[in-house]
């Protein structure tokens, strides 16, 4: 399945292959792998940081538009450098050392949060041959990694030794584990349709039709549930109970200061991208251009748009929807939140999985 059939989609191994050959020319193979891993690490770090900074800017602009304001517009053209300025500001803020925290866990929490989002970020496919971690069980690995994040949040809340942070962390824990079920079941639903857990295979299976069109009703239900659960998973409004500022100061990261707080902020925005990216991957074909069966001319034109642009374009469009949620719906109460998941989304999701099985078994899909 892992082959592109006679299309002009760009193969990124045409770039990475020659670099590999060049390095192999004068280095032993272990050194080559080390250098390549370093290259990957630097690339990952840059992409991660730039994307998070872009997302902070994007969210502030979108939020401003919803509230009839201009948003950041002073630093750089259209305020584009605002988040860079913010990053430097946060770097030169004092790191306050508290005298009542569990020091080790307090320092460990940001590592866990960042590692979780970094691992998920590395799994996302950006193009043909442009994906860092390509496991056979890619999508399962992604779901598993994303659940490490909740550990970081729980540790942050617990180790701060503050009542607000503890309540925030527990709410976050209950919320994230509950909504992870929905994400897991949506993934199972779409894996049924794809017939593989390998991310490249999932994207390839959507070469002719994206799953949102192929799976029709079942895919639409799964997509809506995924979007709701993804919003809850990233602790964003209307599910921002863990950091409900009117009740809990800042929730689980109240006691963090300076760049220490910045990590949670960074990871939150990256998680937004990851949720949108996984939705793109499962429902909108990942980096696969929009194809209509039979319209060869149209498909060829679509293939000329580079795959990373397809991927990031779809992901940003979906993140816009998630940001839109935040500025549209009021915040839920904890009991409403848990009722929504356990009494509505979970039964609907189980039913939807059965529906998808029917659709596949009887061949009702496109």
């Amino acid at each position: 399945m892992n082959n592109l059939s006679d299309t002009n989609i760009f193969d990124f191994s045409k770039i990475t292959g020659p670099i590999h050959d060049f390095l192999m020319g004068f280095l032993p193979s272990w050194a080559t792998v080390t250098v390549e891993c370093l290259l990957i690490g630097v690339g990952l770090l840059l992409a991660y940081a730039l994307l998070a900074l872009f997302y902070i800017y994007f969210e502030r602009k979108v939020c401003a538009a919803f509230q009839c304001r201009l948003g950041p517009n002073r630093v750089g053209p259209w305020g584009l450098l605002q988040s860079f300025a913010d990053m430097f500001k946060i770097l030169i803020k004092e790191l306050i050392s508290l005298n009542h925290t569990d020091k080790f866990l307090f320092a460990l929490a940001p590592y866990l949060v960042i590692i979780a989002s970094m691992l998920c970020f590395a799994v996302l496919p950006w193009g043909y041959g442009l994906q860092i971690i390509n496991f056979n069980i890619g999508i399962f690995f992604l779901v598993a990694c994303s659940s490490i994040g909740v550990l970081g949040i729980l540790l942050a809340g617990w180790s701060s030794n503050n009542k607000y942070t503890l309540i925030g962390a527990l709410r976050s824990g209950a919320q994230m584990v509950s909504y992870e079920l929905s994400i897991g079941l949506c993934v199972v639903t779409m894996v049924c349709l794809a017939g593989s857990m390998n991310i490249t295979d999932i994207v390839m299976a959507q070469e002719n039709t994206w799953f949102i069109l192929k799976g029709h009703v079942a895919a639409w239900i799964a997509f809506i549930i995924y979007l709701i659960a993804g919003t809850a998973e990233t602790n964003r409004g209307p599910f921002d109970l863990p950091e409900a500022e009117s009740e809990l100061t800042a929730g689980y990261h109240t006691e963090y200061s300076g760049i220490h707080f910045g990590f949670f902020y960074l990871a939150e925005y990256l998680n937004l991208f990851i949720v949108a990216g996984v939705a793109t991957l499962l429902f909108f074909g990942g980096w696969m251009p929009f194809h209509i069966t039979g319209w060869d001319g149209f498909n060829t034109v679509m293939n000329y748009i580079p795959t990373p642009i397809w991927f990031i374009g779809k992901a940003i469009a979906l993140s816009f929807v998630i940001i839109w949620f935040k500025w549209t719906f009021p915040r839920l109460r904890i009991d409403q939140l848990l009722t929504l998941e356990w009494k509505y989304l979970l039964p609907i999701n189980l039913f939807n999985l059965a529906l998808m099985v029917c659709i596949i078994t009887f061949g009702w899909h496109f």
Partner: protein, 126 residues
């Protein structure tokens, strides 16, 4: 698969560790830079919990509402279910009727579990 692996690195474990170390490096590097350039000032008041301005009363690391744990236990049940469903989902189209019946039994038991928890009132937030 061969052409797809980035730089032709077949061992995805190496790449996963690279990503993990990148995450560690990001935090460690930023903390180091911040430690170098950020100011330091000392005041006993700054070490206090940021709660409401007056000195904190009572222990913060105390007993918690049991409701949170209840949902964690329920989550465990359904998350393990998801793990068992995934391998079947991959081979669903080949396994056919027999696989479908077996998974339906498995599924039915879990739905019963959910119904039981629901009837018992475990899904109510008290």
């Amino acid at each position: 698969m061969i052409s797809l692996a980035i730089f032709g690195i077949q061992n995805s474990g190496v790449l996963a560790i690279t990503a993990l170390l990148t995450g560690v490096a990001l935090v460690a590097l930023a903390m180091w830079i911040a430690g170098l350039i950020s100011p330091r000032s000392f005041n006993p008041q700054k070490g206090e919990a940021y709660e409401c301005g007056i000195p904190t009363r009572g222990e913060s690391m105390s007993q918690l509402h049991v409701g949170y744990y209840l949902f964690a236990i329920l989550f465990l049940m359904f998350d393990v279910e998801t793990v068992f469903l995934l391998p079947w989902a991959v081979r669903m189209q080949e396994l056919g009727t027999q696989g479908l019946i077996s998974i339906a039994v498995f599924f039915g038991v879990l739905v019963l579990g959910l119904v039981y928890a629901w009837k018992k009132g475990a899904l109510e937030w008290k």
